[in-house]
Symmetry: C2
Subunit: 147 residues, 2 copies
């Protein structure tokens, strides 16, 4: 069993995708994260869902729970509207880390080790300079447990 | 909209739950993580799925991609069998971090800020010393986008 046997078609976003659209993709398709691609369609980042959420939460609420508490319920309900104009570019992590990107020949153990090491529930699979899909933690566990 | 309006019944595990069983729960129910409870049923940790996976990957493969690559496909397929006897206790993070635990009165913005801050796609909701359920990132985004 190789990465190619575990592939799922996976939507991608670019640095210019609005945050609200990225959030909708995550929610509608129940995705564990998003693959951010460059102009050539190659992954430049894999964003966990909580990273997209982080961009939607006002800065003053992110690190101080007390400040989030003073926003009344009516305003709290619509916090995502405030992200209008913000794009995925602003959700990109500042430091460069290892990306959970692999090739179709990777064994299931290699993919599992990659996900564990990068703390990513999602690995992008690239072949011949082209994104061919992704392996999710769920699919990987499903298939390994059935083996 | 408060945490109580976003609640999902959520399975729990204990420190004694075998890793294979925890992996099966994650896979079967497509959970973003697991709530680890103590003898009183109170959350002591929220484990992201990748943390459970980490426990299932042999130590020598975790940090060195080259070592995972030399394991042949047949052995890689069954790597999860090697976890027999290991329990969730071994998947617990060593450092103490803020837990994504909140109360039913938390607004949706408070829950979002908590998830973003703790990088957790899952927040446990505790009321009167009792776990009453969880809010998932997916449910939160669904409801906020519909607001």
């Amino acid at each position: 069993m190789r990465a190619r046997d575990l592939l799922t078609a996976f939507p991608t976003v670019t640095l210019e995708t609005p945050v609200a659209e990225a959030a909708r993709l995550l929610a509608d398709q129940g995705l564990p994260g998003l693959i951010v691609v460059d102009g050539d369609g190659l992954p430049i980042s894999i964003l966990p869902g909580t990273q997209v959420l982080r961009l939607a939460v006002p800065g003053y609420c992110q690190d101080d729970p007390a400040l989030a508490r003073v926003i009344d319920e009516a305003h709290a309900d619509v916090f995502l509207r405030a992200v209008a104009g913000r794009t995925v570019r602003e959700a990109m992590p500042r430091e460069r880390r290892e990306l959970p990107v692999t090739d179709p020949d990777a064994t299931v153990l290699e993919v599992a080790a990659l996900m564990a090491r990068t703390h990513s529930p999602l690995a992008a699979v690239v072949e011949d300079g082209r994104l061919v899909g992704a392996v999710t933690l769920r699919t990987l566990l499903d298939r390994v447990l059935a083996a």
